[in-house]
Symmetry: C2
Subunit: 430 residues, 2 copies
């Protein structure tokens, strides 16, 4: 009892939210970084150099065709609703001709299986090779899929004529009897994207929105002019349909991609983007299609470097990889969905010791975490960059992870006032 009381009393006395109240070593660590911070003008010059490099590098950006690879590839592009309508009509016309010629009713559908996927290191993304197979109505194993494909084509045709957007769930409910479960209509939707050679957003079928954006960005959404510096602390919800987003303008020097909304909220409330001109974006966890499209559009239109701030765990790294290299499931659309060359700003495994994150704020990795980490070490996008590889190796070796929030142990505003400015000043991204 006495011992317990003593322990509590000591903690109460020694620790505090403000750095100066923290235990000696920890407090000193926090103080040291704060002291080493140069003026904002110096830090701004550093970011300006990064921004310039980005704008110069962008010119060399290569497409699949530039690489002259031995394979042929299936890639999709954004098409206007009118073009999608035309493509569908062409497709159905050729089916009709095939029937009249006695060759039967069927579609040639690109394969989206793992064997038909390829990671292209020069582009740093997964692409789809050009294998495809016939989906025939006069075949008992594919008759249902052929019918579903025809129905989806008809529905998409209507959506594009009416120029309205629906979710996958809406689409499923238009014909539950045929589709049976949503998995079937969803899968055929991806097939149809590949067949028509257009992105899924061109089909006017959108995912639900999750992301928010705040900072030095102005854009037009469905005719409304939106100024993201005037979006309070909550930010602007990212729209589900990217084709309604136009005319992006910005005086930002970089884009800060944040994994979680707690960190987003801290930075928005502190109006971090006014001190260091930037755009802050988050998908609140796992990246959704709308946020990925929005990030890509920002990077492409504004030619800004993207800095990633994620948890120091395999999951955080996986999130960065989805933004950068795409998910295997939608590899046919990787060109439009991925944002190449995201810099890993933090929280990196090496930061844990460098910034002296207290032991009790680090979490032991679970067996599943360690397995995921080891699997990631085998992934191409990690292997091609030795700095990333070394960081992940350190994580797996120390078996320690930490959330962005762990920085709160030095004070609630340590993230925006010390950690990020120090990172920017030291060019501490990889």
């Amino acid at each position: 009892m006495a011992e317990k009381r003593k322990r509590v009393a000591i903690e109460e006395e020694d620790e505090g939210e403000r750095p100066r109240e923290a235990p000696r070593q920890q407090g000193l660590a926090a103080l040291n970084f704060r002291k080493k911070l140069k003026s904002d003008a110096v830090i701004l010059a550093t970011i300006k150099a990064l921004c310039k490099a980005e704008q110069a590098a962008e010119v060399q950006n290569r497409s699949l065709a530039d690489l002259h690879l031995p394979h042929a590839f299936k890639e999709v592009a954004d098409l206007s609703p009118d073009s999608v309508v035309t493509e569908i009509e062409k497709c159905i016309l050729s089916v009709a001709k095939s029937i009249l010629a006695g060759h039967g009713f069927g579609f040639s559908v690109p394969s989206r299986s793992g064997a038909n996927q390829l990671y292209v290191p020069e582009l740093d993304r997964i692409v789809l090779k050009d294998k495809s197979s016939m989906r025939e109505f006069a075949n008992s194993s594919s008759v249902r899929k052929t019918a579903i494909t025809t129905r989806i084509l008809q529905l998409i045709h209507q959506l594009c004529i009416k120029q309205i957007h629906v979710t996958k769930r809406d689409l499923f409910y238009t014909d539950v009897k045929l589709f049976q479960d949503q998995g079937q209509s969803d899968a055929v939707l991806d097939d149809v994207s590949c067949m028509l050679g257009c992105t899924r957003s061109s089909l006017n079928v959108v995912a639900s929105e999750k992301g928010v954006v705040v900072g030095r960005l102005i854009f037009t959404e469905d005719g409304d002019r939106i100024d993201c510096t005037k979006m309070g602390v909550g930010g602007k919800a990212i729209p589900p349909n990217i084709d309604k987003v136009r005319d992006m303008e910005s005086d930002a020097l970089f884009i800060l991609l944040v994994e979680k909304d707690a960190a987003f909220m801290r930075l928005a409330e502190d109006r971090f983007y006014n001190r260091f001109p930037c755009v802050i974006i988050t998908a609140k966890g796992q990246p959704d299609v709308a946020t990925r499209l929005f990030l890509r559009k920002m990077k492409t239109d504004l030619k800004l470097p993207v800095l990633g701030l994620v948890d120091s765990d395999p999951y955080g790294l996986k999130i960065l990889s989805v933004y950068m290299s795409g998910s295997k499931n939608m590899s046919y659309d990787s060109y439009n969905l991925t944002t190449p060359d995201i810099k890993w700003l933090g929280v990196r495994p090496s930061d844990l010791n460098k910034y002296k994150i207290p032991e009790q704020c680090r979490l032991p990795m679970t067996d599943q975490d360690i397995k995921t980490g080891k699997d990631l070490l085998e992934e191409d996008f990690i292997k091609k960059d030795q700095n990333w590889y070394a960081e992940l190796e350190l994580m797996v070796k120390t078996k320690e992870k930490a959330e962005i929030q762990a920085l709160s142990s030095f004070g609630f505003q340590y993230l925006s006032e010390v950690y990020l400015p120090t990172k920017l000043q030291e060019k501490d991204w990889i």
Copy 2:
């Protein structure tokens, strides 16, 4: 094979997204409702009457004190950061006095257990009775909790002085060694709200944001003037901290509270609020604190009726109940978190037959659904309204549920063009 082909062929021929292509009976149902729609001016007059009734009724709104109930109650109010600082200092001063007087170190903490909660039908919400207990440092069973309470008080004191907001997760990370797991710091946070008699948002500890709003609403957020008619199709993200929201203005006639973001997206894209002046809000599923606070503030400041559009299942009804009566976990804060008198517009169990939702778009309720439905039948907020009770009884009896999206079987825009206008025209809310 031949049979299969025939079945598919018939479906392809008979059904379609547009009502005129739907099977006879279904198509007629959809068409009938469309034909029965009067002009928008007539429908607007109906809603105006509802709006007027709301503004007249609001005056009679009663508080706990007005009811002269035999119990005493513990309720909390919004306090300014300065007042919270004062309350904390008063609290600590009385602890110091108690120690000096030889009575020891302890806090009087209101009980938040089920036994101390009461549903007040006159107010239609759950409130907390005034039972409380001493949390003493000189007691091995409560020493840790006393220490945690003191630490939380100190952290809140700093937050209110600095006038910044953090999440529960940030708070936890400031002293992981003491709190051990977030459950412990979260629970004490609610205790501290009750002790100080203020809402959790007054403590400057906020939940993560999830909700979005669009439509005829203008407000100021942290100094920025925000016009929700100019928020494109994505809408404005609801801020985590309601105290930054000020000066709401609106020419809307009602607030449309939507359960899911798919329906929100449909209404936003169709700019439903331009045809029928309203504000559309969703928490994208389970209501979060920020959305509940925002809804309440809209209803209180603008004196507008709230119409709820949820799935026809026990979960949808539960969501309405959380908005209206609050969750048991935060009953001490029910006054600030709840929005009384939400009208249940749809999708109601009786709509399934009335609007002839096709069989295949209705889903059978699982055993768990039926159990949840039966439990809800016992709840006070259902029992007090016989119309609500009858609807839920019908749901449990037919064992059928349906999502809002099921309306897409009559066409993607059936929700915004036929279903909702018909509902408004017929005053079909309960």
